[in-house]
């Protein structure tokens, strides 16, 4: 039996901090596929790919992809309708 391989968006916290300049794990984002709203910390993080993928916990859509190379960090917003600019609590 294979266990699920994902971890929490929380695990990508340092990389997101570098990209956005602040802790992002308690910000909410809205999935453009299904409309579910979830904190980045609770998105499903897949870290095996060459890069980090955050998926919607409700429908599995790819929300954000972060690829880090020695030269730059590139963030691709695949399916993110909106994201809070400040912590939601």
């Amino acid at each position: 039996m294979t266990e699920p391989t994902h971890v929490d968006g929380n695990a990508v916290g340092a990389l997101l901090h570098d990209v956005f300049g602040a802790d992002m794990t308690d910000r909410r984002g809205c999935c453009d596929e299904c409309g579910a709203i979830s904190m980045l910390a609770t998105m499903l993080a897949y870290r095996q790919a060459p890069g980090d993928v955050l998926r919607c916990p409700a429908c599995g859509a790819v929300i954000v992809v972060v690829v880090e190379t020695p030269a730059r960090v590139r963030v691709t917003f695949e399916s993110l309708r909106w994201m809070d600019a400040a912590a939601s609590s």
């Binding site: 699920p4 994902h6 971890v7 929490d8 929380n10 870290r47």
Partner: protein, 249 residues
Amino acid sequence: MAGAALLGRLSWLAARVTDVTVETPRVRTVHLEAPGWPGHRPGQHVDIRLTAEDGYQAQRSYSIANAANGERVLLTVERVDDGEVSPFLVDELRPGDRFELRGPIGGYFVWSPENGGPLQLVGGGSGVVPLMAMIRARAGSQIPTRLLYSARAIDELIFLKELEALDADTGLEVTYTLTRARPSGWEGFDRRVDRAMLEEVTWPADRAPLVFVCGPTGFVEMVATTLVSLGHPPERVRTERFGPTGGSQ
């Protein structure tokens, strides 16, 4: 000042190992002094970066095990046998060694005494580490707290002595379950965490506890899903998944 952050980026700090203590056959606590450490909240984690002489770098995340204490940071690390970093941390590290550390990271899976209670903690294997930071921070606060802690065997229960000492104390109730091997006379549970166990020993939903669940991904999903089905609001059930191995990533 050394370690001053470029705007927005987390700085790497040079941390010095002051001690390495044995928790279980596979688990060590690495005691660090990190000049410039800004402090942390229980539940947060750090990234560490090891650099080999040839310049090769390896980076991993580990949960912080202690309550905030100046520039002192405790990392409790389980050896993942085919891992690249944890065997070094568990077997090779000595007082006086240095490596880079940055953090603290994460504003979601955190709890401090001012958040109140009751507090429900559910840990699988080394998933107990960030929960222990919360337990250490609550000491003396009287906040009613329950910990359900699952491990394979008694010698894999991290922090057992400290938990037993605290358990006799104020408002902390610890329930253990051992899933693979039990010593004779074992009085705790002897199976994987399931719905009946959660109903029996965790705070019921009508007590409105704050819930933190940490462990391997499959464990966390099962526990969180079951607690929500027992009536806990999803936003009060916070989770931290380690991934499939049970190690810290």
